[in-house]
C-alpha cells in the first residue's frame, strides 16, 4: 500500500505551480475547473482555431499586443509574461477542446489586485478579436470562444 501511494505523492508534489523561466507563485490546487469555463464538445472548434499551433499563435499575439497597447499595456507591466502566455494558452486550448489541461490559477486569484475595469476587459476583447481576425478565424468561431470567456468578467473586473 505504502509502495503504491509513493509515485502518486511524488506526482502531486511535482505538479508545477510555475515552470522554469517563470516567477514562483503561491501554491494552489491545480484543477481544470480553474479555467472557469466548460470545454467545447467535439473537435470542430479546435480545428477552426488551427489546433494547438493556431491557438499558441493567437495567445502569443494577444499577449504581445496587449502588453504594447496604450490603453491596457500598463496592466501587464511587471507581470510574468512567460507564465501568462503558457497558462492562457492552456486555458484557451482546454476550453477549445484542443487537448490540454489547465494548470493555472482560477480567474479571481490570477486577476487579483490588477485593478481591471470594464473598459479594460472590453479593450482586451477587441485586441483578441483583431488577432483572431488576423489569423483568419471565422467570426462565428470567434464569438463561440468569446461566449465562454464572457462570464469570467465577474471575477476579472474588480473596480
Amino acid at each position: 500500500m505504502t509502495v503504491s501511494l509513493f509515485p502518486l505523492l511524488l506526482l502531486a508534489q511535482a505538479t508545477p505551480y510555475a515552470v522554469p523561466g517563470e516567477t514562483a507563485v503561491t501554491p494552489y490546487v491545480v484543477d481544470d475547473a480553474n479555467a472557469a469555463a466548460r470545454p467545447f464538445v467535439g473537435d470542430d472548434i479546435a480545428r477552426a482555431f488551427g489546433g494547438q499551433d493556431g491557438i499558441r499563435r493567437i495567445v502569443d499575439r494577444l499577449i504581445d499586443k496587449s502588453h504594447n497597447d496604450p490603453v491596457i499595456g500598463e496592466i501587464f507591466v511587471s507581470h510574468d509574461m512567460v507564465r501568462l502566455k503558457r497558462t492562457l494558452f492552456e486555458q484557451f486550448c482546454y476550453i477549445l477542446n484542443a487537448g490540454c489541461s489547465y494548470s493555472g490559477r482560477d480567474m479571481k486569484a490570477s486577476h487579483k489586485d490588477l485593478g481591471i475595469q470594464h473598459a479594460d476587459m472590453n479593450r482586451m476583447v477587441e485586441i483578441l478579436q483583431a488577432v483572431m481576425r488576423e489569423q483568419g478565424i471565422s467570426f462565428p468561431a470567434q464569438n463561440r470562444l468569446l461566449s465562454r470567456l464572457a462570464p469570467m468578467r465577474h471575477d476579472v473586473v474588480e473596480r
Binding site: 475595469q117 470594464h118 473598459a119 467570426f139 464569438n143 461566449s147 464572457a150 462570464p151
Partner: protein
Amino acid sequence: MTPIHAKELRNGGKLLLTNGITSLEGASGGGLTPWAVIAGNETRDGIGLSAHATLVELRDYDYRSVGAAVGLFDRVELSIARQRFNTREIGALLGLGRDYAFEQDIVGAKVRVAGDLVYDRLPAIAVGAQYKHNRNGPVVRAIGAQHDSGVDYYASASKLLLGQSILASGTVRLTKANQMGILGYGGDKSDAYSVQFEGSLGWQVSRRMAVGAEYRSKPDKLSIAREDDWYDIFAVYAINRHLTATAAYTDLGSIATVKDQRGVLFSLQTAF
C-alpha cells in the same frame, strides 16, 4: 477616517454596436423599440453621449427625428427627441393642408436595473418612461385623441447570445399613444393604457455589421384611423467607434386613414 477617492472618468470602452442605435422615440435600442442598453460608448466608469438623425420615407408620408442622449455610468439614460411627421399630399386630402406636419417632443429616462447585454448570464434588464408632448393639440383632439401629451412606461430585456452571434430583445410597453403619439393620446374607442409587445432579433454578421428584424404591436384607439402593428428588417453598420449607420425596410401599415405605409428608414448615430 477612510479617505474618499474621486474615481476618474474613463473615456470610451463599450464594444462596437453594443450601445445599439437610436429608436424612433430617442431611447437607444433598435429602430422601432428600446433595448436594455444605455446610450453612448461608456462603461460604468464614464459618461457617454449620443446624437441621432432618422429619416423614414413612406409611400405617402415622410418622417424625421433628431435627438440626443446621455448615458450615465452605463446605468441611466436620459434622452430627448423631436419628431416631425409630414403628411405631404394626404394633408390636403384630410383638410389640413399640403405638407401639414405633426410634431412631437419626447423626453425619455431609462435605468438598467440588472444584467448585462454581453457578459453576465442574466440579460440586461431596463425600465424606462417616455414623456411625449404633441405640438398639434387642437388637430389631434379634433380627430378623436383625448390628450396632447402622455407618458409611456416600458421594461426591456436584451441579450447578445455570443455563441450564436444573435441579439434578442423584448419590450413590454404601457401606452395610450396613437401612432407613437403623432396622433395624440387616448381615443374615442378607449382612453385606457394598453399593453404592447415589441421585439428585435438580430444576427451579428461581423464585428461591424448586424442584420435583423423588428416587430412592434400597437394600440388602436381612434375609430377614424385604424392603427396597425409595425415591422422592419434592418442592416446596421458601425462605420467606426463613433458613427453607426442603419438602413431598414419598414411596414408601418395604415397611418391616418391611409393604408400600406411601407418604405425605407435611414438613421445615423454618433456616440462618444
